[in-house]
């Protein structure tokens, strides 16, 4: 019996073939099939929302089937309160990004949409798989389309950026794979009845008994893999290049979804699987998170290219995820999950907008965009709203998530009050950008976006505002129950 999750995972990959074959002669067909498939998958994810039982902590809609049983590999998928919000932004952003590609991708449509659908399969798979090797498989499937997106449809430095992206993230994941394989081997000894396994639920039971040095080895190696994707401060250098060179709809996927893979991995695997290791490593990880937040904000302050600035915003904002997750408090972890959700939407909107602005004005240089109000008045008002979301102004979901992260951090140690510097800097660079772009005397002539592009941009704002004003449907009944259950199991930190 094929369940809803499997349909959502594999439908895009299956439809990638007809998209490619039919789209080769007829680009419009590729567009229709590409956008249509992402819309169907989004509809399926809405169905998942309906079926999902709220307020529960365990994995739901689980499916399990033997895959390579001779090596202990099972096909196992399922979602809980941590994966559901990410699954939703995955299908939602895929739909919006595919729709945004309609105008912004101008050649080789068949290849583009076929790769797009394979990407969607990978990203949904990452957020739903419950077997380590299956997870790694989807993790790598995401990589290859992204390499081609940047390399073929990217900007002037696309060749350099794509290869840098590929080598950085592939090396990171190779180190991560070591952790996964080591888990299989070290929990497969005779001390653990039932034989070695890659299944998440089996490992979650076994790992707490694993010796501390072994836990530390696995936690550190998997951290490297996730941290490259997140990215953290010294390993982030692929990000500005990749984000800036990628076409705008792909930047939406990169910042909105690909970075979330790192954050999701950190929470799902690093934080929840290695309680003993976390109780040793959390000061280092949270400090790295803090440095990443402040570093990302400071670098964004001096960026001249609006797209580069937005890209560095991601470094800034993903630092919150790292900080919140490894405070190992209910507030911090819930905030981290919610931050991934809200940041994905806000950054997606900003990137898509930067693409439209570039298309309509021919430049992305912040100084050259002076007086944009005259050319694109509606876009500028949307830019204000998106910047407010990214600045975490109350009323937007981002405020709730960043507030929760900082609250979680402060409940652990007052030293984390330094974290307050980051939002201040964020507000600083956004306002400075807005002052130069939007608050200058308008320069004509008017060259506004089409209505459908405006509607795509507005679609990002809807969930941001709804959950910013009234977060309980997602925070209280989806994220919190799961986080409370898991965080309670983290030895030594559970009491907080």
């Amino acid at each position: 019996m094929i369940g809803l999750l499997s349909i959502a995972i594999f439908l895009p990959a299956v439809l990638a073939a007809p998209t490619f074959l039919l789209g080769r002669k007829n680009p419009k067909m590729a567009k229709i099939l590409g956008v249509g498939t992402t819309a169907i998958v989004f509809a399926i994810s809405i169905l998942i929302l309906v079926v999902f039982q709220y307020g529960q902590a365990g994995f739901q809609l689980s499916e399990s089937a033997p895959w390579a049983g001779s090596f202990g590999l099972n096909y196992k998928v399922g979602i809980d309160g941590i994966s559901l919000p990410l699954l939703m932004i995955a299908t939602f952003l895929s739909l919006l990004s595919a729709a945004g590609s309609w105008d912004q991708i101008t050649f080789r449509h068949a290849e583009y949409y076929a790769l797009f659908l394979i990407f969607e399969t990978g990203i949904i798979g990452v957020f739903t798989s419950l077997n380590l090797i299956l997870f790694y498989l989807f993790w790598e499937i995401v990589l290859i389309p992204m390499f081609f997106f940047i390399g073929i449809w990217g900007g002037p430095r696309r060749r350099y950026a794509s290869l840098k992206f590929l080598i950085f993230t592939y090396s990171g994941s190779a180190v991560m794979l070591f952790g996964f394989l080591a888990l299989y081997a070290w929990t497969g000894t005779s001390a653990y009845p039932g034989g070695p396994s890659f299944d998440y639920d089996v490992l979650a039971v076994r790992i707490p008994n694993l010796a501390l040095p072994l836990q530390l080895a696995v936690a550190v190696t998997t951290f490297v893999g996730f941290a490259v994707k997140l990215p953290i401060f010294p390993l982030h250098t692929w990000l500005p290049d990749a984000h800036v060179e990628a076409p705008a709809p792909v930047s939406v996927l990169l910042a909105g979804l690909l970075l979330k893979m790192g954050g999701y991995g950190l929470i799902r695997y690093n934080l929840l699987l290695f309680p003993k290791a976390v109780s040793v490593l959390w000061p280092y990880f949270t400090t790295i998170g803090l440095i990443t937040m402040i570093y990302g904000a400071s670098v964004a302050l001096v960026a001249k290219d609006i797209k580069r600035m937005i890209a560095l915003t991601s470094v800034n904002h993903m630092g919150y995820v790292l900080l919140g997750a490894f405070t190992a408090t209910v507030a911090g972890v819930s905030g981290a999950v919610f931050q991934m959700f809200s940041h994905g939407l806000a950054i997606g909107m900003l990137f898509l907008m930067s693409g439209y602005i570039h298309e309509h004005t021919g430049t992305r240089n912040i100084d050259e965009l002076k007086g944009l109000r005259g050319k694109m008045p509606q876009t500028v008002s949307l830019l204000f709203l998106a910047s407010m979301a990214a600045m975490a102004v109350p009323g937007f979901a981002n405020f709730i998530s960043e507030y929760l992260v900082i609250q979680g951090a402060l409940s652990v140690s007052y030293l984390f009050a330094i974290a307050i510097v980051a939002p201040a800097l964020t507000v600083g660079y956004f306002l400075w950008m807005l002052r130069r772009v939007a608050m200058t005397p308008p320069v004509g002539p008017k060259n506004e976006l089409h209505l459908h592009s405006i509607l795509i941009l507005v679609a990002f704002l809807v969930p941001l505002l709804i959950f910013g004003v009234y977060p309980p449907p997602i925070l209280g009944s989806v994220i919190a129950p799961t986080v409370e259950k898991w965080v309670g199991t983290i030895v030594g930190l559970g009491a907080r």
């Binding site: 080598i167 190779a174 180190v175």
Partner: protein, 489 residues
Amino acid sequence: MALFSLTPFLSLAVFGLLATPAGFLRFKKSKLGFAPFVCILGLAIALVSTVWLGFTSSAPVSFGGFQVDLFTLFFSGVLLIVAIFVTIASLQYMREDPNKGPFFGLLLLSTLGMIVLAASMDLILLYVGWELMSIPTYALTAFRKKDPNSNEAAMKFFVLSALSSALLVYAISLVFGITGSTGLTAIASSLSTAGPDVRPFGVLAIVLFIVGFGVKMAVVPFHMWIPDAFEGAPVTIGAFLAAGAKMAAFAAAFRVFIVGISAFNVDFYSTFAIVAVVTMSVGNVAALMQKSFTRLLAYSSIAQAGYILMALATPFTTTNVPLGLAGGLFHVLNYAILKTAAFVAAAAVATKLSITDLDSFNGLSRRMPQTSLSIAVIFLGLAGVPPLNGFFSKVMLFTGSIYSPYTWGGYLALAALINSGFSMSYYGWLIKRMYFDEPQDQSRIAEPRVYMAVLWAATILIFAIGIYPDPWIRLAQSAAAALVGSRGL
């Protein structure tokens, strides 16, 4: 009927001898003689009978030192697939060559030598198989007799190969001196009780075996001949050497070390671990610096040999399951398919562009889209990207290392994984050249159908094994179990 289990061997021998004279017979007006078809027929009969034997036979069939078990049949299947791909590609590649008879005849006889190696449980038979495999390959490497590069390559290959054969003979005689036998099981039982006085000779024999096999397996530091041989030889013979001869040498090494020498109380495992790490590191770093496609393939094949060596370094887990060994055998299968296909793609490019310089790959996706797509898939498979076949065998190999009883197992796996990550730099770089760079010449090139048939077959296999690896893993596991089982016979 025990004799039926000899069908693959007999088919290769008979058709191998027939192929050379068949080269003189021709179809009217066609340049293609009968030889390639005799060759394909012989290989097909051998492959079908191998598969049939694999499904029907349960107990190993032994004729003294000659043993047909699942390990033999596994290698026989892998090597025959390689030989069939090479033969089909050579149909196109050797189209203009007048000497087709000897070419295809030698190909079959060399294949016979390879599968004899996999079947040998006796060191004398092993040596016979070794020479039967090697001697035709010297001639095949030098097949373009008027091409100085081809001759130089063959000369270099021949001298090193002859040296390796000599070292093997010396190792065999030392082992005979210690144990008084050439049968591997007898050697094993004798070595398990060997006293300290013979220990130095035993260690010397092990070193000589490692060097002797190492030359053919192209492990560092005995890898120097590989890049020159692959570049100078006809490209399809490059595939045969890289995927055929090399894997057959691994078959021999598996037999000798796992069945015979593992009974001896000498830690050769850590030696193999060091050699494995050095081999994969040198291969990967050197591959990054190559300017020719065939040389890049040569160094990547050296790196892959390093991964397979891990199976000899850490064959068993702490629970005594041959996980690393099964992973090694699975990687032999995957590597053989990937590497043969890579060389066939090189042959397609070489035939059409008459050059395999890496710069000629710039923008190749516009000119030869099918070839480029398959090269991209093959390279991602070699790098170990899921869901392609190379991923699962690497996972088994690396897990086997961590899972092994040795404390250095984890470091070995980490070194291999870092290598695997690093290898993406040159694999990705070539994909970048093919897909992202601009070609100097935009014209579309007609892609030869024969090559495309092989490439598509290989690409489908690469995906099929990668997406549903279960039956193939079982195959490798039962082959590994058969190898371990042949110790006790």
